[in-house]
Symmetry: D2
Subunit: 347 residues, 4 copies
């Protein structure tokens, strides 16, 4: 049994971790911390857990996190990097759902997250937790920085085009038009997020620049081995969960005979959670609702030189907590899909 601690479990990635871990056959939940809600039974905040999770929130000080095998950080940016050194020293492995261990360049990190990085040496060893790309490194990682929700879908959608340094599309004019449900913004008391402001409505945001753009760029460049230029425009859907990324790329003249469907099917052939759909399919976010699956479809409208890739994921599962559990399984030698075989809820 893996002994698990969660720091900061009051947000959506926290409760989703709890939902998954409480049903995981090889996990023992040991502690969950929240300075603000210390003393409150977890199930009082999230009544879906009534009768299933008996833990109460504890203060970080009371929680014996150092007794755990692994600690998940479901906290605001900056918390994980402050506490990770001590945990590592105690032999505890760390999985961060925030951004502390995503961006390898500390200047880029500081630019987008507004704070200096406090432990660049740990950042250097941290592994980016995208199993489809970094599976082997994750297995032995002491620290895993989980990808953002958008970056997971965008990188998986573009990865087959760049894997192994392939040159199939214009790498400098990628366009990722992404749409996310409101849970991606977190459990925050913000006027713009209330139902009366966001229901029956749709808008783009972060058009001038979004933190996930440099992360995606870094990830794709690591896959490709060359420079990537990406325009990333996120939009807010009036739904709870679900990301739909519509990815565009211009096929290079020399690559026009490529069988992109076959390319994608081969690339993901052995992946337990990435489902390449039959040609012509247009996936829906509900096809992966509340599950760890990602479904991908490849289109080439009119047989022209524009490739359109459609990717759907549940931002709280494969885009966050489910991916965290997937990484944990790899880190502890468990079958990769343990506790992650929930069938999507549809309708």
């Amino acid at each position: 049994m893996v002994k698990v601690g969660i720091v900061g479990g009051t947000g959506y990635t926290g409760v989703e971790l709890l939902r998954l871990l409480a049903q995981h056959p090889q996990v023992r939940l040991h502690a969950i911390t929240s300075r603000k809600e210390a003393g409150l039974p977890v199930a009082d905040l999230y009544p879906n857990l009534r009768g299933r999770v008996d833990l109460s929130f504890t203060t970080p000080d009371d929680a014996s996190l150092t007794d755990c095998d692994v600690v998940f950080f479901a906290t605001p940016h900056g918390v994980a990097m402050a506490q990770t050194p001590e945990l590592l020293a105690a032999g505890v492995r760390v999985i961060d759902l925030a951004a502390d261990f995503r961006l390898k360049d500390t200047e880029v990190f500081q630019k987008w997250y507004g704070m200096p990085h406090s432990c660049p040496e740990i950042l250097a060893e941290a592994v980016y937790g995208l199993p489809e790309v970094n599976r082997e490194k994750i297995k032995t990682a002491r620290v895993v920085g989980l990808p953002g929700c958008y970056p997971t879908s965008v990188q998986l959608g573009y990865a087959p085009l760049f894997a192994g340094g392939r040159k199939l599309v214009d790498p400098l004019h990628l366009i990722a038009d992404a749409k996310s449900g409101a849970s991606g913004a977190g459990r925050k008391a913000e006027t713009s997020l209330i139902l009366a402001e966001s229901y029956d409505n749709f808008k783009a945001y972060g058009v001038a620049g979004h933190r996930h753009q440099p992360e995606i760029k870094q990830g794709l460049e690591a896959i490709a081995g060359y420079d990537i230029g990406l325009t990333f425009v996120p939009h807010l859907l009036p739904t709870i969960r679900g990301i739909h990324s519509t990815l565009y790329a211009t096929i290079l003249p020399e690559a026009r005979d490529t069988d992109f469907q076959a390319l994608f099917e081969q690339y993901f052939a052995n992946e337990p959670f990435v489902d390449v759909l039959p040609a012509g399919t247009m996936p829906e976010t509900r096809w992966v609702r509340a599950s760890n699956y990602v479904r991908v479809a490849v289109h080439r409208p009119g047989g022209g030189d524009t490739l359109v890739i459609l990717v759907v994921e549940d931002n709280l599962v494969k885009g966050a907590s489910g991916q965290g559990v997937q990484c944990m399984n790899l880190m502890f030698g468990l079958p990769e899909d343990t506790g992650l075989t929930h069938i999507p809820v549809m309708p």
Copy 2:
């Protein structure tokens, strides 16, 4: 032209007042105040008003509210009663969208709103702004306290049963099961109101007791002339606008031959905004969306002794700002439906 001021126009009843008044042919918008947003063009906060409302928010001090013919208060409870004496002294009439002039009993007011009433003598002269019940008094009122959103629908639905002291149903066991869209909670940054918490969801609230219960009771007792007992249970709909009240009453043995359909049709025969639907109709909230209409249907399932009355209204129009304009029209001798003839938006 009626010269109008609005105090506290940053909330939903404020913007809805602006939408209605900016299209009202007999109104000149003179000032709109907000201490917090002073200096901000109104259309920056509510871009639907771009090109249509040129006003900026001003501080209450700068705004020459005393130059107005009438001032609307779209403020938290307690603000109107603080400022009304000065306005009345200057000859300005007042229409309050909050609760300051609804409850006649100052002890009841204090119990439910947590503050003493600061001007009971003005409260005593204030008229409850439900035109279908108090039309003549509203015409000459100096101060109008507009009904709450739920109370408008519940009182209109029950009124024909009690008007003139009629005794048709058990007056002590009325049950009003009411459902409201989320705009009824206002434009507030509260976690429970964000889309990820309230979408694809439904719940009751205020079951132990809700401020609108004593208001409805007071209103129905004024209509009936005798004691009323009411259980009122509000629910939160995952919609923006719209109230649907399902009202239950037990028909008294001696009233079983009553033609309730005819009773309702007669009672509302000359009302410009109350539409008694044909027998058997089940109204939908969208039938009145963004309009000042209320639609009412009377049912008697199985011909038994339970009466079921269905009422739909738009909580921001007939349940608040539209009703305010309707009262203003009456107060200034304008045709009652001036500026209020918007056809509901459907679909």
Copy 3:
């Protein structure tokens, strides 16, 4: 392993059965029939099942349903009663999700479902599949008629008041104001159900009379042992799943000292799927989303003589397919919660 067949799996109760049974550790899915979709892989119609359910729909003729241990009917009313005699003759047990085996009085059945009952003798032996009331009978039943979605919530909410013939509330003026998500209407191509007609909207329906009223009445009378009078008004929520029943009852003078909270807690003390909430709680439909739980809260506003009981359930799980699996577990001697321990999905 229980060998399971499903007749008519193209609707929502069908796909939900598949979701639950495909994750059930003691079930082998043997056949699923649909005359219309014969030949189509189930996962083509419901892509959430891709990679998890390999079955294709077969024609009822091809399907060797008689090889099964149990057959679920997720069909329109009338299908199960036509095929059940042959299945019983072959030793196959039957669980019907439609109404064929709910109403014991064949005249009442014919009145509400517009067809004569074709096998009254099987109806006579059929057990009403509400485990909390009929657990022992279900264990040995050859035929189980599952309750409707609304009746499950309403009967569970009222049951403690009437169990054992208790006389605590006026039994002739019960009022059940119920609200259901749109999946309750099924996967039907009807104009009134399309999103543009039903989103951002709310309405009552079936006010003059609804099929679930006689079913609830029959169920409560079986529990109470005396006559029940019930007004039942269903409403359509703009949500996918979820039923919220707001139940009203007038407390009898002699029962005013009853501790209703304790009564409910004791009645459901050993139930694996009914959660009596702490006093004062107002449950939300999402608290049981995609799970077999029912959560119940008891209120007595102002300490008066009106009892208000709030019940939430997922109409497709505890209101249909989950309850079917629960009954199947009982029928085959499995732990009652096998394959039903999904934690509600929230947010």
Copy 4:
């Protein structure tokens, strides 16, 4: 007063025409036809019109459409072209909300709409009803073919870049990622449109090819005077109304110094219904809800060579019926905004 007839008013563009025309000060509604609903009062189908529109549907034969000044066709594709010759012969002008008079090339029409064009000579004289582009021609047109909902938003968003043959962006790799509310699919009984299938969900559709692509291409080529290549991907939003088009273009090296904000502001400077937003704005579909406004924002993320243009419109107003009324106003010499000054409904 303009005497107006409507053919086929049972769909959403029909009811929206009625909502607008019933409030239009210079219009007399003369007839509305529907073979299927003949005899039915319009307000029975659309209760939002109760008390405001007294007309009943008539059969096309009974309706004296030839008495009208103008007839709107809110019909399936193919109906308008069948009836237009007779109406023109009687001196009646025609505005078609369907596609019969949009595509100038009859072969392209036949390819995408599956029927031959029955009156190419009328098609040749028909004017494409986009006032911002064709204002003068519309004034004298006998037949106006209104643009599709998506094409209105996409053409207005790209128009300033191509007007007068300007060469500012790569014209062959335009990408229009568009999202529409469900009312765009019409009032159709289709399973995929029901709320339980489309709520809390998002998907692309028509990726392989959509009828609006050739229409947009034709329109932009008419504006530019040279060839245009466009990838158009529509998506289905879980909202009722609203289109949000996110338009991408690669700025040509020689145009990198262009002030695109100024370009857009100048191009639309005198337009009554196109609002160019301040730099940096991200418009929301609700900002134009139930109104004829279009709001446009121009972005250049990171100052790079990709231009991102955001356009919001109400698909039923500026995308259909409102644009029809705008054209009618032009055709009959009325101020262009007559009857179209509704302020967007927000929230």
